[in-house]
Symmetry: C2
Subunit: 223 residues, 2 copies
């Protein structure tokens, strides 16, 4: 069995990714971040999920993206906007977030002697964040394979993105087929401390639509 580092936010996508990695036989190491996000309750979900899936280890690392700011997810003076169908990148975009998260995963993977990193990025039912697109992930993987001692010594790093071309409904169906209990997950950008969702932000609307299109009842409690 190979080891894999799984980026686990505690939301629908990353939980499905953990289920997929486990179903493929990986020994799973879950990595979450306390990055100053408003939706801190997602970390409570991440803990429950990691335990539920019996990961080998679950780490929650503190990274000070709130000191850097520039996003409605980390800056208390910026309001999380309602869902907007426009093609503009919304203010919930967090500067370089996936690049930072993947880089900590890369470091941990190297220490674990793992060549596999899983991330739940999706480029269909998503908010248009640049660091969720296939071309970004490919470029990250190329860079990662020049960055570390293990990669230059011949162990190729792979960034696994099993959801990248799926609709939200397909993600939900795949997760359900693997037995994922989505009531454990927190998706909302401004969920309160009981993990109750706002129902109107991008993340909530994409999730709600996904459950509807999958013909499955959404176990989320919307305020």
């Amino acid at each position: 069995m190979s080891k894999a580092v799984i980026l686990l936010s505690g939301g629908l996508d990353s939980t499905t990714v953990l289920a997929i990695a486990k179903s493929k036989g990986f020994k799973c190491y879950a990595l979450s971040f306390d990055y100053g996000q408003k939706q801190l309750s997602e970390l409570v979900s991440a803990k429950t999920i990691a335990k539920n899936f019996g990961v080998i280890e679950h780490r929650i690392m503190r990274v000070c993206l709130d000191d850097i700011g520039g996003s409605a997810l980390t800056d208390p003076t910026l309001e999380v906007p309602k869902f907007d169908e426009s093609n503009e990148i919304p203010i919930t975009y967090v500067p370089a977030r996936n690049t930072i998260f993947l880089s900590f995963a890369l470091a941990w993977a190297e220490v674990l002697d793992s060549q596999s990193i899983f991330i739940g990025v999706n480029a269909l039912d998503y908010s248009g964040y640049p660091d969720c697109r296939p071309e970004y992930i490919e470029a990250y993987e190329t860079m990662a394979n020049l960055a570390t001692k293990q990669s230059v010594e011949g162990d190729k790093i792979q960034i696994h993105t099993p959801l990248i071309n799926l609709t939200k409904a397909e993600i939900i169906n795949q997760g359900r087929a693997l037995g994922v209990d989505y009531s454990m997950t927190t998706t909302c950008y401004q969920a309160n401390d009981k993990s109750e969702a706002c129902g109107i932000c991008d993340a909530c609307v994409l999730r709600r639509n996904g459950f509807e299109q999958a013909g499955v009842s959404d176990p989320t409690y919307y305020q």
Copy 2:
């Protein structure tokens, strides 16, 4: 004047890079990391240097590379080895360090609306770390230009590496021409809290040889 984020460790190379960036007319924002390194005194040097160069802002961010381990620079159970001429990557290599540092610089640059990041990597008189090589930096820049909102909106990010093809002696000469006072810098991997250097680690030997080849007296106090 354009803004630039300068990765500043407090050592000889990054201080020279700061001097170069300033001489090119950039408004300089210095970024240092408290990453659990044994040579914490380099951060004292970084503060002095940032002040001396009149940077617009100097940030020291805490990143928990000591929790990840895997390096003699962050793991108290691993001894910093003496200089070794072999071609093997030494145990002072820190997994994914430059990738993590550049990623925080990328985030800060985006918030500052800066398109320039300076890093003092060098691939001649160096320890063989993979994340100091030109091919790594090129791949990082390609990835960065797919990662952020500002880059996809047309503002190209540039990773400046003015030292990458210089010998240590050439770096010292360039810094001296710009008026750098190297007595402010701390290079040693295990400098004590007075910034006194061991004289025998990779970093010390490369520095000592550099000053010798440049025909300049090294202001470092070696224990």
